[in-house]
Amino acid sequence: MRKGKIDELSILGGTPYFTEPVPVGQFYMPEYSRYESALRDIFDRRHYTSQREQGPLIKQLEARLSEFFQVKNVICVSNATLGLIMLAEAMGLTGNVIVPSWTFIATAQSLYWNKITPVFCDIDIDSQHMALDDVEHILSRNAISGILGVNLWGGAAEVEQIELLAHQYGVQLYFDSAQAVGCEINDRKVGNFGRAEVFSFHATKIITATEGGAIATNDDELADKLRAMIYYDFKSPRNVKISKTFTARLSEIQAAIALMSLDDFENNRLNNKKLHDYYIDLLRSIPGFKIVSPQGVSKSNYTYCVIRVDESEFGLSRDEIWHVLRAENVLARRYFNPPIHQVEPFSNYQVDASLTKLGNTMKASQTTLQLPIGARVDRVAIEKIHQIIQLAYNDQIAIKNRLYH
């Protein structure tokens, strides 16, 4: 094999270009020596998790996140899905809530656990964010109690316009911002929009706690309800009442990892940006293989490299290039497929028969691809991925023959 160049695609009989799998996901875990230091610290203090009230590192993390997001209240949770579940309960949401079908399945699952009926809206085909005219269409024709907005791919929905709509129709608004940690909209940090927002600190996100999440809100009463749900000894000065508790504590070691990860945030973000720009540079010349750049934000975390595959120009379909990449050990992903409105139990909900058939969502689910970006990828890796795609473009007939025989 010629050094630095791929000879033959693995799917056509060559050996995989990458010897180790390259996954999609940030995976910026703080290095082992820092982790060891934090663990020893915790073992010295002998305080492992929050019991009746927040542990010391949780308190520290919440204070630092509050400063980072420029938000009054941050409540740490075990993961973003549980944060969304708790939030819908604390907000007292019932009935019908508008949510895009184009999001990670957990967004809709959080509604299911609160016995809320999701009313799916379509997306704008270019930005892949919620289509405002669709949202308004649904609001004007149905009894809606809330909107669960989603901020995707290191970008954001048109949150300020959605806020206006929510206000106009008198419905509650909150956001699944699992992917939007550290993003800014018109120089305001995501975390400040709607009544509350939920962030993820999963291993694949830019701030990690291995598993983790946080709810951000400027609404003190709402914050108190959430704390009362988690912490037994929490006494609210605002005398809030909760219907039922929940368990979603983050441990002290998870908090320690998140604190270190928060320290690394800007370095990681800048690294992401460099990698993202390099992808744009190299992929520029390939027809029908376009990066969906983060939209709607004045500052992005660049945590995703999202491609829209146009088969009529590229020659291969999204699924075909996915097979090619997989054979080379590039673990590209096809989020979100199948789209939520086609998955049970959500496919059984029928709110308004005249609603859009979610055409843009369907199209996106058939043409969107994510490439690796983060700690597991460097410039050399991106060059190799580019070579694979270039070769696939050149060899598309042979590939199609191979895939269908």
């Binding site: 995976f27 875990m29 082992y32 982790y35 060891e36 663990l39 020893r40 073992f43 002998r46 492992y48 998790t49 019991q51 075990s78 993961n79 973003a80 899905t81 549980l82 579940i85 990670f104 399945i105 957990a106 809709a108 699952q109 959080s110 299911y112 656990w113 016995k115 999963h202 291993a203 990690t208 291995t210 598993e211 037994y232 009442k241 909760i242 219907s243 039922k244 508790t245 929940f246 368990t247 979603a248 504590r249 983050l250 441990s251 002290e252 070691i253 998870q254 990892i257 992903r333 096809r334 989020y335 497929n337 199948p338 998955v343 049970e344 139990p345 959500f346 597991r376």
Partner: protein, 402 residues
Amino acid sequence: MNLSNEFSLFGNQPLFFEPKPLGCLYQPDIDKVLDYSKIFYKNKRYTNDGELTILLEKRLAKLHRVKHAIVFANGFLAILLTIKALALPGKTEVIVPSLAYRKLDDIIAWAGLIPRYCDIDLNTLTASVESIENSITENTALILVQNSSVGLVDINEIRKKAKKYGIPVINDSALFFGKTNNEMVGANGDAEIFLLNATKFINGFEGGYVTTNDDLLASTLATTRRFGFTREDNVDFGASLNAKLNEVHAASALAFLDNLDKYIINYKEQFMAYKNTLEGIEGIDFIGRIEDNGCYFRDMGMMILLTDKWLLTREETISLLNAEGILARNYYFPLHLKDVGYKRITALLPNTHTIHDRLINLPQGAHVSICDIYKICEFIKKIKIYESELKKQLRGMNNEER
């Protein structure tokens, strides 16, 4: 009688400057935790069915002598997803004892079902078989029982009754780990729940697990705890969420299991110290229990019962203890008396009413030495000695405050 020379509540120095907590807080060997951690650092997989999580499940299954152990982010989610998996479709009620973990009925409500409270047996403080049988209706979807801190559920009898109607049984064994009659406790209902929480026994920071011999249940739970994905890009169970355990917690739990016997021996020593030293104090019954042929652990197992020969109320007794840094606490508060926002069904629960406000849990675990236990017991004896004066002054104090 000058109480201010004897009791911190009346101005004396506390017995313990560093409070003695109720939570066990046993610490695994840190070097073992780090060794396990090196594994996930090497393979760069920090969650999502990582190598340590899989290893932990295998070891727990082997330890409990069951086919399957499925781990979760915490016990609450373990119970929630198991209820969802087992509850009879179309039925609405879950029978649960009132004198039980304070969140059990909340979990039932999150599962979209209605708690129906039953009474306990005074000997074991677990759900009484008779009361369960009286609570079964045509709407019963599931029975949720719990091993108490002083007794084990009569699981064979309960299963017999439940089987007549095809009702599944889940046993929450967060408070008990170990053997009884040489049989390891686990998979004793259709499913049994245990914890990996630092305040309980196995210190995995936070976590929980289910033991079962039911293959279908095991595969369902492995799926519903990770959003319902049966394979990449394929969701089969929409009624799922994120209840995954991460590799760091798994590392800690594994390290703990490596030294299991050490903690069990410590438990027994503490138990015997309390039992022997509290012997013969009028008004106090030490009702903690050792299982026959057991090697085991009980959370909140150092339990005393105040009899009618004890002149102070439980609240007064606990105030005196807490003031000394002895963080004794009430046992469970009856669920049917709790203020909640969802529907539930109750009945007369005479045993629960008789006993619930006379139970106190005393400190145990890693922060408590045998010497500390002697001091705690001596202090309890002192309360008895000064009982009448304490009663007078405590109630006199309250009168003045009005």
